[in-house]
């Protein structure tokens, strides 16, 4: 039991906050529960029936008491709600400067794709002290990404991106579980997260023999699947210019405006007709069942890398841990060659 407890010792910033809340609830609820139990046991013993014909005072109720024990718990509950909700917002909202890693889940393995093109199966290496954001999708059924030591969990859905983030605070090897039942080998869909000191992490990164960054593979795909035939980067032609698309508000034919986040871009590729950009007619082929989730991730990384939209933060550079941590990370050198990073292109 002791080693188990150690294993779940909080290893991320959120986990520490989490434990505060959790143990506070244990104290409050435990206190009330012990109080109730004590009262019940005391009554049961102290007022134990003494004679067969005993008739106790017939007390019917008390408005004062009723109000007290409705309102006081309510107030306590509201406190729990507020604290729980604020923690949830911390857990759910990744900071803008987080390093991105793409996760593709399938029965029954986790595949991680780093921006520098490294791939790992059932393992994930992350630096200590820096926020990491995972952009996750599933190839088949629903899975759930769960790292107990970080106190985070997020279902991974097919046909959609969900994200989770954490900031490891202690180097170590932590369990990664699949927490949503996903078929026969659900309990085998486990792995490890290695949180490393930044120096070691940099070393680990440099040893990776990647065939090129994720975005550059994406660029190859972009040509291979003929995207480049239609989508030009000079604003010419009958197709939208994809430069700076990421996080830009896009006006649709329906008059709605949507923000071009990961899910939107993904949908635009697999199901172009779903949302059509204003001013264009849709004749883009449907890439559903043509591209694998891995390829989609590569294309996505590429599209995100080709120039940030004006005025929005670019999450992280393609390829490596942001050199200037906390500063304004731009496109670092490892981005695909020949791609303009001109940020001033107006829509």
């Amino acid at each position: 039991m002791i080693p188990a407890l150690l294993l779940v010792a909080p290893a991320s910033r959120v986990a520490v906050e989490y434990d505060w809340l959790f143990w506070s609830l244990v104290v409050v609820c435990g206190g009330v529960a012990v109080g109730i139990a004590a009262f019940v046991v005391y009554s049961a013993i102290h007022f134990h029936r003494r004679s067969e014909n005993e008739l106790p005072p017939q007390i019917k109720g008390s408005l004062k008491l009723e109000v007290t024990w409705s309102v006081v718990p309510l107030i306590i509950f509201l406190g729990m709600f507020a604290w729980g909700a604020s923690l949830y917002f911390d857990i759910e909202r990744p900071p803008a400067n987080a390093t991105e890693v793409y996760i593709v889940a399938r029965q029954w393995m986790w595949k991680a794709q780093y921006l520098d093109g490294r791939r790992e199966i059932d393992e994930l290496h992350v630096p200590v002290g820096r926020p990491v954001k995972l952009i996750m999708t599933s190839q088949d059924v629903i899975h759930s990404f769960f790292v107990p030591a970080f106190r985070v969990k997020q279902d991974v859905l097919p046909d959609r991106y969900t994200t989770v983030w954490f900031q490891p605070s202690k180097p170590g090897k932590y369990h990664l579980f699949c927490a949503e039942y996903c078929g026969a080998k659900h309990s085998g869909m486990i792995g490890y997260i290695y949180a490393m000191e930044p120096r070691e992490y940099a070393l680990w990164l440099s040893q990776g023999a990647a065939e090129g960054s994720l975005a550059s593979t994406g660029e190859k795909m972009f040509h291979q699947f003929g995207c480049a035939n239609c989508h030009h980067f000079d604003g010419q032609g009958p197709c939208p210019d994809l430069k700076g698309l990421y996080l830009r508000p896009v006006l649709l034919t329906t008059g709605q405006t949507v923000v071009a986040d990961e899910s939107y871009i993904r949908e635009s590729i697999v199901d172009p007709a779903a949302k059509i950009v204003a001013g264009f007619t849709n004749y883009m082929p449907v890439f559903k069942n043509v591209l694998t989730e891995d390829q989609l991730v590569e294309l996505l990384a590429y599209i995100k890398a080709i120039g940030p939209a004006p005025g929005t933060q670019q999450p992280s550079s393609a390829g490596s841990v942001p050199a200037t941590y906390g500063g304004q990370p731009g496109i670092s050198g490892s981005g695909p060659a020949g791609i303009s990073t001109d940020q001033s292109r107006a829509h």
Binding site: L25, A37, E66, F77, A85, V141, I142
Partner: protein, 542 residues
């Protein structure tokens, strides 16, 4: 309410009126139908329990040593499906509810006796289909049938099982309908709403949920079946559907369903505690309103099962907030039950032991529900053993305890015999100890991060799992005891007399076992429920 002071021995009662198996299979008597249900749900309970034992055995070691993981998945799926739909949901309402709702309101029968019998047949048919699926090879969806796993990826008997559950759902609906109509229209003269025993109020609330939630389960399973059979998209994203919609619809039913499971338990407790404290239920009105509030607000909180499923965070906030609201009426009830004990004349008969057990375990289960309802906390413990422990505390520690308590409490009325008190107290103790040993370690496991539905697990979780398995075997013994001595006492127990506990309800004014029409003379109600003060007059007279 004229209590029968002396035991009026009625020669003919509902048990001996009509002989032979056919007189049971075609009976329209709510009491006999209750017995039919009792036999059926008991069988399903032990079947579900058998799966639980096998599961616990498997979890003794970190490796999958007894079954391969696929078979383990079938174990928990069949365990959950049978326990929820074929044991716990029908357990109290169709047995004790069926038997005692008409008696407590002074009616001859339910409003629609034929419908009542039909419900049982539908239930058994649904059960038969499910058991058929089980013997043919089982199902491994989990009791939640999440898509697209269930519709596209599994090749077990998903459709057959879902059909069984679908069918059983209609039995629930008809039972609920029958209860509502009965409680509205069949009360004896003088039995006003605020003279109803709390048992009735709470069953009324339960029936509301049964009637309004169950159809949604039916239609959800229907759509799931269509998708699975015809390979057309409703919930599968590969076919254009949305799996989260399935979860919305499933939990729209299943959260209210957890109140279907606990409210009847509360109904029983609200009878036992006054009787064995000889005091009126403290804060009667508030407890009545609390039951209704649980039934209504219980419909607004289903999203708390989906906090990490891809729900919008704003929606999640609303659902979390509402979950806390629905906990308030439960709190009111716990406090009122406790207050009823205060200055009472408390006897330690077996039903009361179960009731006290219920109080403690339900409180723990409910409070851990508060943990889960806190958004941030749920993220870590959802889909771990923490959730498993939470709901077993409420469903097993709460409702099953209440069920056992209720069976003991009403046993003399149902059979006319007393059960052996000493043995009964002993097994209540065994159940309590075994239960806590089984499920308390699971809270810790959950906090440590052990996911649910795992056939194999990392070694550091073993110690707690061994404790839990040990507890489960004690618990199993604790359940087999009552089965044996209750059956024994049906034949050989001491004769009970009409009112062994000196209860105040109408059901205690008639003979044990009651005559076919429940009462020799149709009762007229003149006073409030739980009127123990009458005892004084009785004593003066006697």
């Amino acid at each position: 309410m004229t209590p029968v002071a002396e035991a009026v021995t009625v020669e003919r009662n509902y048990l001996n009126q009509g002989e032979g198996i056919l007189s049971w299979l075609f009976t329209l008597d709510h009491k006999r139908i209750a017995i039919l249900y009792l036999v059926s749900v008991t069988m399903f309970f032990f079947l579900g329990g058998l799966f639980a034992l096998l599961m616990r055995l498997e979890l003794l070691t970190p490796r999958a040593w007894l079954f391969n993981p696929g078979d383990y998945n079938k174990m928990f799926s069949m365990h959950g499906i049978i326990m929820v739909w074929f044991f716990l949901i029908p357990s109290i309402p169709t047995t004790l509810g069926n038997f005692f709702i008409p008696m407590m309101i002074g009616a001859k029968d339910l409003a629609f006796p034929k419908l009542n019998l039909l419900s049982w047949y539908i239930f058994m048919f649904g059960g038969a289909v499910t058991v058929f699926a089980l013997v043919r090879g089982g199902v491994d969806t989990g009791w939640t049938f999440y898509t697209p796993l269930s519709t596209t990826y599994l090749n077990t008997y998903v459709t057959a099982t879902a059909t069984g559950v679908f069918i059983a759902g209609f039995s629930s609906i008809l039972t609920g309908l029958n209860f509502i109509a009965t409680i509205h229209r069949m009360r004896a003269p003088g039995m006003t709403w605020f003279r109803l025993p709390m048992f009735i109020w709470t069953h009324y609330a339960t029936s509301l949920v049964l009637v309004l939630a169950t159809p949604v389960l039916a239609v959800t399973l229907l759509m799931m079946g269509v998708e699975r059979i015809f390979h057309v998209g409703i919930f599968d994203p590969a076919l254009g559907g949305d799996p989260v919609l399935f979860q919305h619809m499933f939990w729209f039913y299943s959260h209210p369903a957890v109140y279907i499971m606990v409210l009847p338990g509360m109904a029983v407790i609200s009878e036992i505690i006054p009787t064995f404290s000889r005091k009126p239920l403290f804060g009667y009105d508030f407890v009545a309103y609390a039951s209704m509030a649980i039934a209504v607000i219980g419909f607004l909180v289903w999203g708390h099962h989906m906090f990490v499923a891809g729900l919008s965070i704003y929606s999640a906030m609303a659902f979390s907030f509402l979950s806390y609201l629905v906990a308030v009426p439960s709190a009111i009830k716990v406090f009122n039950w406790s207050a009823t004990l205060y200055k009472g004349s408390i006897s330690w008969d077996t039903p009361m032991l179960y009731a006290i057990g219920f109080l403690g375990l339900f409180t723990i289960g409910g409070m851990t529900g508060l943990f889960l309802a806190a958004l941030g906390i749920d993220v870590h413990v959802t889909d771990t053993y923490f959730v498993i422990a939470h709901f077993h505390y409420i469903m097993v520690g709460g409702t099953v305890m209440a069920f056992l308590g209720g069976i003991h409490y009403f046993w003399p009325k149902i059979t006319g015999r007393l059960y052996p008190e000493g043995l009964a107290r002993l097994s209540a103790l065994i159940v309590f100890v075994g239960f806590n040993l089984t499920f308390f370690p699971q809270f810790v496991l959950g906090y440590l991060g052990m996911p649910r539905r795992y056939a194999a697990y990392p070694t550091e979780f073993q110690m707690l799992n061994v404790l839990s398995t040990a507890g489960a075997s004690i618990l199993g013994v604790g359940y087999i005891f009552p089965l044996c001595y209750l059956l024994w006492s049906w034949k050989y127990g001491k004769k009970a007399g009409p009112n062994p506990w000196r209860g105040t309800g109408l059901e205690w004014t008639t003979a044990s076992p009651p005559p076919r029409d429940n009462f020799e003379v149709s009762p007229i109600v003149e006073g409030p429920p739980y009127d123990f003060g009458r005892m004084r007059e009785e004593l003066h007279l006697g």
